[in-house]
């Protein structure tokens, strides 16, 4: 049995259905361009959900609404059973500390070294850590993504794949319960893409996180998903496991798997 098949079987086991994210009838328009036209979606604890869709279908906008970077026009969002529209600034921050977000290009702070990037996030969340403890946590996070040698490099010295790894290390250093990945393999070669996908899977297993992964990369979707949701023109068009959707009767859905 290949490694891929083993990983696929392990990840496709349906987890316990306790929802951590509940999105209902989410709508968002930019001017006259309606991007989300009523997305309703639940994400369950320990689940690895992949969101597929063509460019402009509203995938990134959905996860940006979840962390408050985009304010929705309509609909409700509950994270950890809290209605985020009712949260004050402090409560929002408390929710955000339990969510990690991996940006498409890593979004590393380019005036800081890799060490400072990780320490900056950690020290703002966890007070009273000694310098030795911070260094230990930084090294541990970098070891988890296989980049401990790059600890004193600046972001400009890193390759695209390395930037995403450091971005992931910066995300996991605060040990979030949910990680949102915005196109984690975009712009990478196929080998590096696979490495990043395997890394995502390893992080999911080690930290028992719930994941929402926005991607166009079907190899990444196959490897990392328990469930896949396909967005089309601002609404959910199809939902199922990789294997179910691959054999769908809908030709448009099948076109993703060719």
């Amino acid at each position: 049995m290949t490694k891929e098949k083993t990983l696929l079987q392990e990840t496709n086991a349906t987890p316990k259905r306790e929802s951590v994210i509940e999105i209902k009838n989410l709508k968002k328009a930019f001017g006259k361009n309606a991007v989300l036209k009523g997305v309703t979606l639940s994400v369950y604890k320990g689940e690895d959900l992949v969101i597929l869709g063509r460019s402009g279908s509203g995938k990134s906008v959905t996860i940006k609404c979840l962390v408050g970077l985009v304010v929705p026009d309509n609909g409700s969002m509950h994270i950890f059973e809290k209605d985020v529209s009712q949260l004050n600034h402090k409560e929002w921050d408390d929710v955000r500390t339990r969510i990690g977000f991996l940006f498409q290009n890593g979004a590393l702070y380019d005036s800081m070294s890799v060490r400072q990037n990780l320490a900056f996030t950690l020290t703002h969340h966890t007070k009273n850590l000694t310098e030795a403890e911070v260094t230990e946590r930084v090294i541990e996070a970098l070891e988890n993504v296989g980049l401990e040698a790059a600890i004193d490099k600046m972001p400009a010295e890193l390759s695209g794949g390395m930037r995403k790894r450091v971005g992931l290390a910066r995300t996991i250093i605060i040990k979030p319960e949910i990680i949102l990945y915005d196109e984690p393999t975009t712009g990478l070669d196929s080998i590096t893409s696979r490495e990043i996908s395997e890394l995502i899977l390893a992080v999911q297993k080690k930290y028992h996180t719930t994941s929402m992964i926005i991607t166009h990369d079907m190899a990444c979707a196959k490897l990392t998903s328990n469930r896949i949701v396909i967005l089309r023109e601002g609404i959910i068009h199809a939902e199922g496991t990789y294997l179910e959707l691959e054999k769908s009767d809908d030709e448009w859905v099948r076109s993703f798997f060719i």
Binding site: G68, W92, D93, F101, F103, A107, L108, D110, F120, H124
Partner: protein
């Protein structure tokens, strides 16, 4: 005839629409800028302070601007002395040269020129840095990490410029007066002690105080405008250049407006 009237009416409507949009944009920008500035006073009073970043910004804004301020301050004093000397000589008032140069520098020239130079160097730097952070999602990354980007990036920079610009202006005053001493000695002969005694004899508290107060406003405007332009850069690298450029232009304009208001207030009070 009818067609001509129709074309004329059409042109007038178009012109009105463009003007409407222009003024709407200006008022929108003023509204957004005011909100952004009001947030500064809210954040500074309600949240903990990023002391390390503040000191770093003081170093970047203050210390790293010293070479530029030294050169421009020295040239200001030197040129002003050399240019004023022939006119004062005609009236036999050459001995007034040190006090005239120092008064001109302290009351007007050094604050405005230093602020304009800092608007170019510091304002554009802040605009470009924050603009670049905005378009590469670094500001969003702070936000989703529950780190307040306004407090970390804007409050520290605005406070640093508000504190550092007056210090730089004081320094430019001193260097300018020294430049005046060198300028005086190109065609004349005066000892440094006598020159500085002459300068200090004619300086009053009211020459220094209003000029110092306005430099705090200059510093605040440079930091706030640079931060606002950078923070609101739209997606795309082109907007980084626009943010930097717009920060310099707007800050320079605001410096002149503040200077005009400050002069009117000083004139009214004293």
């Amino acid at each position: 005839m009818l067609l001509h009237q129709f074309q004329h009416a059409n042109k007038t409507i178009k012109k009105d629409t463009i003007l409407d949009a222009y003024f709407k944009n200006i008022f929108e920008e003023i509204g957004k800028g005011s909100q952004f500035t009001a947030r500064f006073f809210k954040e500074i009073t309600t949240t903990s302070f990023e002391i390390k970043e503040f000191f770093w910004q003081c170093f970047v804004i203050g210390y790293k601007s010293l070479p530029l301020v030294t050169i421009t301050g020295f040239i200001m004093g030197l040129v002003l002395t050399i240019q004023s000397r022939p006119t004062l000589s005609k009236f036999g008032a050459e001995s007034w040269l040190p006090s005239m140069v120092s008064l001109s520098l302290i009351r007007e020239i050094a604050p405005v020129i230093t602020a304009l130079i800092c608007a170019g160097k510091i304002g554009s730097g802040i605009g470009a840095e924050l603009g670049s952070m905005k378009v590469t999602e670094q500001i969003d990354a702070m936000e989703v990490s529950a780190i307040n980007p306004y407090k970390y990036l804007v409050v520290t920079r605005v406070l640093a410029t508000t504190l550092m610009i007056p210090i730089l202006v004081f320094y430019a005053d001193f260097i300018g007066i020294f430049g005046g001493y060198i300028g005086y000695n190109i065609h004349g002969n005066i000892s440094m002690f006598r020159y500085f005694t002459n300068v200090l004899e004619h300086l009053e508290f009211l020459d220094i105080f209003p000029a110092t107060i306005k430099t705090f406003f200059f510093g605040f405007s440079i930091g706030m405008i640079g931060s606002y332009k950078g923070f609101n850069a739209e997606n795309g690298t082109e907007s980084v250049g626009k943010a930097a450029n717009s920060a310099v232009v707007t800050a320079s304009l605001v410096i002149f407006i503040i200077d005009m208001v400050a002069v009117q207030i000083t004139d009214f009070l004293y």
